[in-house]
Symmetry: C2
Subunit: 495 residues, 2 copies
């Protein structure tokens, strides 16, 4: 499918040399101008019409409505991070004025975030717009003041080319050096490796599989100068069904989850892949209704042949484990690139003793784990690995009696949902899309929401600078009117 | 000297098991109570009288006044991070309320920082109080809500024991589980390794050498679950003398730097170890005055025999390189554990071609590099590795004509000082004590100032929680009166 050839070592080096030169310009590019670049990209994406959508449909098998929605989200992200960028609160500008008569004298010190330098972005296959070429990582890096080098995802190279062209034009339109953005193809592992290992690369953003993200993380740490890698590596997104709630709402929860498991043919990193309940009448009703709904669903086209094949393989693998039984699957067989919605069931003790069942099966599959009792459910929660999300379905009573369960969950997840579904990741400041390893490589950062900018910036202090020599963000008069902390007081501080 | 035996594997495991249990309690311990623990430690340290000082004097060779000052700084750090802890701004609490009529409906989402879990702290030899047992890393971790396991520095084990006893008593006094704090000895590498590799360890704080910090960082990344390591690994702290300034103030700058280089027998991580000037009359006057002053100084006692020996060896190594000449050294020879203040000189081209000269010599030594011209100085700045600090001595005119130099410097340092000295690290919010690798293992965090707390915390989102089920920090009424962002507005927001 990929009609583009892999970038050569020379092309990679040229891009990285240009990025380094552009980094010095971007660092000094005012916040408003960085934002202008991002608004230009957003406008052009929005006005690009249907060509892009049609190309993406052909490359990803995603339906038109979904792709239009995702483009809208990508435009929203660009605008929302651009707005955050120019507001400047994320800079964490902090000023402590001099105290000359302190012993020893306290000098004037001012701090703000500065860009890390060139960021290599690896697009994801399941979000051809929102987590690809002009997606969240690219928007975050531009806002932080970093040049971006995108390695196009080989599953949608033409979509990526069209978006890259939009970015190149926006860079030009805004009078920035061309090195601010580069777009390279690379179906082979070697291109990604060369980009991560290049000395001019200062950070990496990645959304994809555990194997891919962990490999990049390890490479980055083996460099002479290790660099930060933010890899979002997916998640099984456990759901705990508590008893009173289950008893009251089994059918309604089943309906919610049938939708969440199969949304986008199960190809979201927040798809609920494990559902825990305590055996009994409520769980039986839940499984019965979930089975009914899943059984009536049709197989859907997955992103590409490789993903469909992996889904079938990983699902077959899971279903072949001891103690597993299929609860429901689509009545129609999956053909070509399709994936068939499937629900299986296992007992808690079989789940606990088999780590294969703890792993993500990317696609419309979920495993219901029937726990013997609350203790077993607690054991399971304590043995859980790091997750992007965890969901609890419970009444106030359920929650009151589940303190230990909540303690266990709190250590293992980035976002905790009560009485909802994990799919649907709002783009807003309060969203944390991240989580303890192996959900991501650094639980202290998010890849969704304007705080994602902070992945690509670092604090720097300026000591004893005359006012006119300081960056505008730190000057006495607060000419950019950003929110700053001045002598420990947060506000629109003027010195 | 070390009368304490290394912790056994069993002792290490017991400490880590207790720390894990304590982590669940600490996470739910209110901010005010965490702060109370820190205030208790500060009070007890302050009121501990002279025994601690005398023990530390015997173990570190540091003079009484310096140790009393450092204890004062440690007490100030504990109180200042405690105050930040209870004020809660560092939590970055963020609330986005639900928008039910959005399509799809936007749920209520609220985010705040939560503790990472047990933090292993490696004390430094050169700050027996401020970066050891009850030092900045311990204070940061407690404020974040993390249990702390300190590996005592083998150069001052008895000092560390006394401080540990103070912390144990404060933990008890405040009704917290004993597992909140553990103190272990370990002269061997194995103890440190076992602590970093233990599955219950969730983060590491370290202040010390490059070799030590890098080894811990690599170990942490080889774990099944990699964990963040903040290692502050020292710095050469380059100083650039620009021409107009040098011409006007050569002697005054020399006096400032003679003091800064030899402060605390050169045993600060911010000691200026490289001084760059362009050849000419100004630099000659600077070198002449610096030589006069350094030549008249006496050798001082270093922290311990190992450090004195390393200083002599590393200095001899540097002085044996091609093109190096000694400008001045103390007229008295160094005996026993002493280190003799020494200044050497080399030409820019010899410096550029010899990477040994780029490395830190820990002790009262600095190398003046005579550059041929501004281009050579720029080449040098561009080839520099990451640094905690960089200093420029320059007039406005000098600065105006040095844009490229500033561009190069900006990428390489955590704190940029104009017309000052790098020694003297103020404890305040605007202080960034960190920097690009190899100064630290993560340029995005600081080990000084209350922002140091953020090394040991991560964001977590709570979605669709009823108000009474939320942590107090995120409840509608803002019962803790912390500064929060509510629907994108920062302030004392009530929902």
């Amino acid at each position: 499918m990929n009609q583009y050839s892999d970038a050569t070592a020379t092309e990679i080096n040229e891009a990285m040399v240009a990025a380094k030169a552009a980094a010095a310009v971007m660092r000094k590019t005012p916040l408003k101008k960085r934002a202008a670049l991002m608004y230009s990209i957003a406008d052009a994406l929005e006005n690009n019409g249907d060509e892009l959508i049609h190309v993406a449909m052909a490359e990803t098998n995603l339906p038109e409505a979904r792709l239009k929605g995702e483009r809208g989200r990508t435009v929203f992200q660009l605008r929302s991070y651009a707005k955050a960028c120019e507001q400047g609160t994320w800079l964490e500008a902090t000023i402590d004025t001099a105290i000359p008569d302190k012993v020893p004298a306290k000098p004037d010190i001012r701090k703000m975030l500065v860009p890390l330098g060139p960021v290599v972005v690896f697009g994801s296959s399941n979000f051809p717009f929102a987590y690809s070429t002009a997606g969240g990582d690219t928007a975050s890096a531009f806002a932080a003041g970093c040049p971006v080098i995108v390695k196009a995802h080989p599953a949608h190279p033409q979509t990526s080319e069209i978006v890259a062209k939009i970015i190149h034009e926006a860079v030009k339109l805004n009078g920035l050096p061309t090195g601010v953005f580069a777009h390279l193809h690379g179906a082979s592992f070697e291109v990604g490796k060369a980009l991560v290992m290049h000395p001019n690369t200062k950070a990496v953003g990645f959304t994809g599989s555990y194997v891919g993200g962990k490999a990049l993380h390890d490479m980055a740490n083996q460099r002479k100068e290790p660099i930060p890698v933010f890899a979002e590596m997916g998640s099984v997104n456990p759901v705990y069904l508590l008893e009173e709630k289950l008893s009251a709402d089994a059918e309604q929860i089943a309906t919610q989850y049938a939708g969440s498991i199969t949304l986008g043919v199960g190809q979201f990193c927040t798809k609920p892949g494990l559902i825990f309940g305590i055996k009994g009448e409520g769980l039986d009703r839940f499984m019965s209704e979930l089975s009914k709904q899943i059984g009536s669903m049709q197989p859907g086209n997955m992103l590409h042949a490789g993903i469909a094949k992996s889904y079938q393989k990983n699902k077959d693998n899971a279903l072949a484990q001891d103690g597993i039984s299929i609860l429901a699957t689509s009545s129609n067989e999956a053909v070509d690139n399709q994936g068939a919605p499937t629900i299986a069931k296992v007992k808690g003790k079989d789940y606990l003793s088999n780590s294969l069942l703890h792993q993500e099966v990317f696609g419309p599959y979920s495993l219901v784990v029937e726990c013997e009792d609350a203790d077993e459910m607690l054991n399971i929660a304590e043995s859980m690995e790091g997750q992007l999300t965890t969901t609890v379905m419970g009444t106030d009573n359920d929650i009151r009696f589940s303190e230990l369960l909540f303690d266990a969950i709190a250590d293992k997840c980035g976002r905790l949902i009560l009485n909802g579904v994990p799919t649907g990741v709002e783009v807003c400041l309060s969203m944390h899309h991240g989580g303890p390893f192996p959900a991501t490589t650094d639980s202290r950062f998010t890849s969704v929401g304007a705080d994602a900018i902070k992945r690509f910036a670092r604090p720097m202090s300026f000591q004893n600078f005359a006012n006119h020599l300081l960056p505008l963000e730190l000057q006495n008069e607060n000419p950019l009117q950003i929110i700053r902390t001045v002598n420990d007081v947060l506000g629109n501080g003027i010195v």
